[in-house]
Symmetry: C2
Subunit: 139 residues, 2 copies
Amino acid sequence: MESQDLRKAGLKVTLPRLKVLEILEQTAQRHMSAEDVYKALLEMGEEIGLATVYRVLTQFEGAGLVSRLSIEGGHAVFELVDGSHHDHLLCVSCNRIEEFVDEVIEERQRVIAAEKGFEMTEHSLYIYGICKECQKKAG
Amino acid sequence: MESQDLRKAGLKVTLPRLKVLEILEQTAQRHMSAEDVYKALLEMGEEIGLATVYRVLTQFEGAGLVSRLSIEGGHAVFELVDGSHHDHLLCVSCNRIEEFVDEVIEERQRVIAAEKGFEMTEHSLYIYGICKECQKKAG
DNA sequence: AGTGTAAATGAGAAGAGTTTTCATTTATAT
DNA sequence: ATATAAATGAAAACTCTTCTCATTTACACT
């Protein structure tokens, strides 16, 4: 992921955009909020405005470079797009996010949309629960 | 749905709460935002504060009388709980909301949660698309 | 390399939706 | 009736996000 991707998206290659991309690629967390990205950049000693982070992430979303998850009640988090669609499992205790793909569910959704006469554009499926680690902690 | 339900939930039986319940039961729209409820009450000539509507809906949610849908990007909408779980189809053009239940999907979710070691507490599945009517309008 | 121009930026203001605060009112147990 | 804990309304506060606008920057074209 580099300058070429930005140019293809019709975006000028600027330092803020490269830095946001860099954070998204290098961070251990695959899912970051705009605030997370902003703070990570500040910690790296980069100067950037929060508004710019929001703008850039929104543009990246438009360009198909990242996707935005709108998590219940909370703020949006972003993840780099790697080509494959997937849904999410969220731990309500530690906020860990895991990903999964299930072709059975994908197919059933298409069938349901068709039955209801909907032309499906997208879907969002979140399974909320308590992850293995948090179950242990809770005893 | 009446005073008894409120008492059972440990809530005092007050006019605002009864009025909110009444709106939720009598309205043609099954899915209403806090603002919708507020405006409907004002139109009925009831005096109520928006903060009260939010508070009451949140309490009703806690009491299991209503459930809250957190729709992508937008505001929350509430629906009376009628015992049956269901998921939602949303028209991105006219905001119509339809409901569906699919046991295959329900079961797959349980399996996936188990595979990932999650103790599932709940899930949210929204299928976004364009409804039949809006497809016609768009040609 | 220098320059014009449209695009991008940062800071702060603004906006939407929701929650909180607090003084006043109300429901309900006694 | 009365005490008291809970509920209310209005406004302020809050969170997340977008917008505004003056300044800066990238890049196409000399």
